[in-house]
Amino acid sequence: MSAAAQQNSAYQRYFPVDDRRGEVVPFTSATSRVRVTAASPWSKALESRLNAITSLPKGWNGYRSVPVSFTCAAFAAQLIERLYDASVPPPALVPGADGTLQIEWHRNQYDIEVDILEPYKVFASRYDCVSGDFTEIALSDDFTVLAEWLKDMKSARADLATAGAAVV
């Protein structure tokens, strides 16, 4: 049973008989603020980064900045999980001074940047460094377009590799 159903339900008077199979949760340090479970390699790779950007001190940029909000980080983690593609490296995570978060890929002549302003309030942009094409869109809960952009970025790498160009 999912953790969500267990936690939402007020009572577990009827408990699943396979509850004892509970997954093994890896040890995390007492100072670690976030934990991801049953995650893709991307999320696992980004766990420490998520931990770092949600733990930033107030004024971390020298001004009136705040750490990335836990809610933004949780939404970003969900989005990253949806987009996971084993043949694409994990994105960079960049904190915003106002508690927001940016997910970025800069590869194969493409710049893809995804601004998580709050859950379900997302702005995404793609810049094609070869053609100069720039696309910017607002997104809510459907990220099919981002998956397509990543696919294009991956295809571009294949094209560049064939042409003998640098791919990173």
Partner: protein
């Protein structure tokens, strides 16, 4: 609002618990001290108080390649603001509140309690949300901005043996007829008018009663997603949409034998 006409209806459904809830923009500056004022909003009806670990944020995202139904993202340390249960005198109703959620549960206690029906429960929930919205506006100067709604129906079907599952759940006999345990999770995306609306989670498990006296099949159906706007009316509309989807799915997944046993009208 009355029950939709064509919705399957049962006189004695095996419903054990109904949960409806919203997730909202976290209250800035919320502390446990403010929790007292929140409880006071509901205390006449919900005099009991219990403390539970907080539920981490959950979001439904669509598109992409990698569905991970059991993926979770949690705070590794106890949040300063726990989840509070405000419990009714009879224990059948409870409100769950934390700094970014409000939920309302109806549940059977020891097999007792007459299901008050969805329409009554959702109206109560809407009024609870209005009360909460007014309170956080006055106490925090913040609007109640709802980012997600959900509704869950948790059904418990008592059985002598799990081999009976095929009698109650369509097609389950072939899959689980001689199984020692049953454990199935699935999810599907719900659309309306061509738009992606929500995700429905279906969990089917073999279960034991807490006193180990009998076996049961536990079927939990949950619809979760983003309402069209952050307003209370939109959240309630989403919950109604989810309820219709769940009841139709429940009727489709269960057998004619089960429908007769539960008094399908």
């Amino acid at each position: 609002m009355s029950r939709p006409e064509n919705l399957p209806d049962f006189s004695s459904p095996p419903l054990d618990e109904l949960v409806m809830g919203v997730q909202f923009v976290p209250l800035a500056g919320y502390t446990v001290v403010a929790a007292q004022d929140i409880w006071n909003l509901f205390r006449d009806e919900f005099p009991g108080l219990e403390q539970q670990p907080p539920i981490p944020p959950q979001f439904e995202a669509f598109g992409g390649w990698s569905p991970q139904p059991s993926f979770s993202f949690q705070f590794n340390v106890q949040l300063p603001s726990p989840r509070l249960w405000f419990v009714s005198e009879d224990g059948n109703h409870l409100i769950q509140f934390q700094h970014d959620r409000l939920m309302l549960n109806w549940r059977r206690i020891n097999g007792e309690g007459i299901y008050p029906r969805f329409e009554n429960i959702v109206e109560r929930f809407a009024s609870h949300l209005v009360k909460l919205g007014d309170q956080i506006q006055s106490a925090f100067g913040q609007k109640l901005e709802i980012s997600q709604s959900e509704v869950s129906y948790i059904n418990v079907i008592r059985v002598e043996s799990y081999a009976e599952v095929g009698r109650w759940i369509e097609g389950a006999g072939a899959l689980y007829g001689d199984s020692e345990i049953i454990a199935s999770n699935s999810a599907k995306v719900l659309h309306r008018g061509g738009d992606t609306m929500a995700r429905m989670h279906n969990e089917l498990h073999s279960a034991m009663s807490g006193d180990m006296s009998h076996k049961a099949i536990r079927m939990a159906l949950t619809v979760r997603g983003k309402p069209q706007t952050s307003e209370i009316t939109s959240a309630i509309e989403f919950i109604r949409f989810g309820r219709e989807a769940i009841v139709n799915e429940f009727a489709a997944l269960t057998t004619k034998y089960a429908h007769e046993a539960w008094g399908r009208k």
